[in-house]
């Protein structure tokens, strides 16, 4: 069965990916910041679930997990870990350190994961890298106000996704990014439009049909193509 490695698998969208791929019988490597709290992830049944300690801002931890898995081909890398600080994202309300932290998670974390796991993915059968971006990273996406740290780091994530798609084409790797929709998780709250099940089912359907012609694309959970 194929193998998937997911960051931010403790809850929300990352947990639901782990859940659904486990049910399908995949070998699931779930990365979490605090393995002591990952009981629900460990208890997922279906495939084989392995929990790793990995904070995406800790490049030493990324290297450690890459070493542990050095002989394990990874069919699908899902860069999902993310954060948002609510109204403190608005004009005049955040400092450079808060802003940088979102770059460390969304952009540097994703790049460092791709750098560390490129060989694992290149030696797999499916060779897929999927980055969980956001509609907020899209210019022209309707908004009442700017969420500066979040919007800028997700736009930058889209840029690096496009760059990675060309950089890794020679190695046969397909790289793309998603907006998962507005999903009921801790981040978006219980009143969001979609339940995680529906969003992740949609993204998995897109992933199942990905081929090299779609590398470098930005896609909604339901398969619609997003503009940059």
């Amino acid at each position: 069965m194929p193998t998937v490695l997911i960051t931010g698998a403790s809850r929300g969208i990352g947990f639901e990916f782990a859940h659904q791929y486990a049910v399908d019988g995949w070998s699931v490597h779930g990365c979490v910041r605090d393995p002591a709290q990952a009981g629900a992830l460990r208890a997922l049944s279906g495939g084989l679930v392995t929990v790793h300690k990995l904070d995406v801002t800790r490049h030493d931890q990324i290297a450690e997990v890459a070493t542990i898995l050095k002989d394990t081909p990874i069919d699908l890398l899902i860069n999902n870990a993310g954060m948002w600080i609510g109204e403190d994202e608005h004009f005049g309300r955040f400092n450079n350190e808060q802003w940088m932290e979102q770059f460390r998670v969304h952009v540097f974390g994703t790049m460092a994961m791709c750098e560390a796991f490129v060989d694992h993915v290149a030696t797999s059968e499916k060779k897929l890298m999927v980055n969980i971006s956001s509609g907020n990273g899209c210019f022209g996406w309707p908004r009442d106000t700017g969420d500066y740290p979040y919007d800028t780091s997700k736009a930058a994530l889209n840029l690096i996704t496009k760059g990675l798609s060309t950089d890794l084409r020679d190695r046969g790797i397909t790289v793309m990014c998603f907006t998962p929709g507005n999903v009921a998780t801790d981040m978006s709250g219980p009143d969001a439009d979609l339940q995680p099940g529906e969003s992740i089912t949609g993204m998995r359907r897109v992933i199942a049909h990905l081929d090299a012609s779609q590398t470098g694309s930005f896609v909604r959970y339901n398969g619609e193509i997003m503009p940059w």
Binding site: H59, H90, F91, G92, N95, N96, W99, M100, F103, V107, F108, M111, A112, C114, E115, V118, G137, F139, G140, R143, D144, T145, G146, D147, Y148, D151, T152, S153, A155, A156, N158, L159, I160, K162, G163, L164, S165, T166, D167, L168, P227, W228
Partner: protein, 226 residues
Amino acid sequence: MTSSVLITGANRGVGLEFARQYAADGWRVLACCRAPEQSDALQQLGVEIHPLDVADPASIVALKAALVGMPIDLLVNNAGVSGGDHQSFGDIDYTAWEQTLITNTFGPYRMVEAFVDNIAISTGKTIANISSHMGSITHYDSGDEYIYRSSKTALNMVSYNLSIDLKDRGVTVLAFHPGWVVTDMGGPDAPVTPSDSVQGIRRTIAQCGPEKSGAFLNYDGTSLPW
């Protein structure tokens, strides 16, 4: 009344040319640079020179205090760095990435935060962020210079968000690609002179009203894709 322009990174390259042209046009020029005592070319223009390091929020706050109540018709966020020699996949310098973001992305935003009141009480009410077509995601088909490119993509998103947040205050926010320009950054083989680049941007700014706020434009005024 005389219009005033505040320019960051005005001691050389594109920024110096902005200072020269606006001064020649009779504007009051507030030329900012990191080392005023070493800015010979700028000093020769006879413009007001202020010390400013856009990567240092305290430096921005100090300039804000010095300019309280003064209308600023145009803010040109020009200061920028290229991101260094380690920006390729597998060889990314994450410390350089942070420093580049602080200058190229956070700096322009902090300038707007500090000077938005000065801009809002002016007649021109315009912000020009000097970005680059290298920040265009649509145009990115090579896979290099991740650091510089992402800092400009993020700057474009700053511009776009500012156009929404400052709309009620009547402020026009524009993002520009200056062309590939002969400067220390652009190198000697670039096809565009600073003079032509800045003339084009100035002409475009003069033609753009609030309805163009949020646009990403080439120096000749044509629009660029995100």
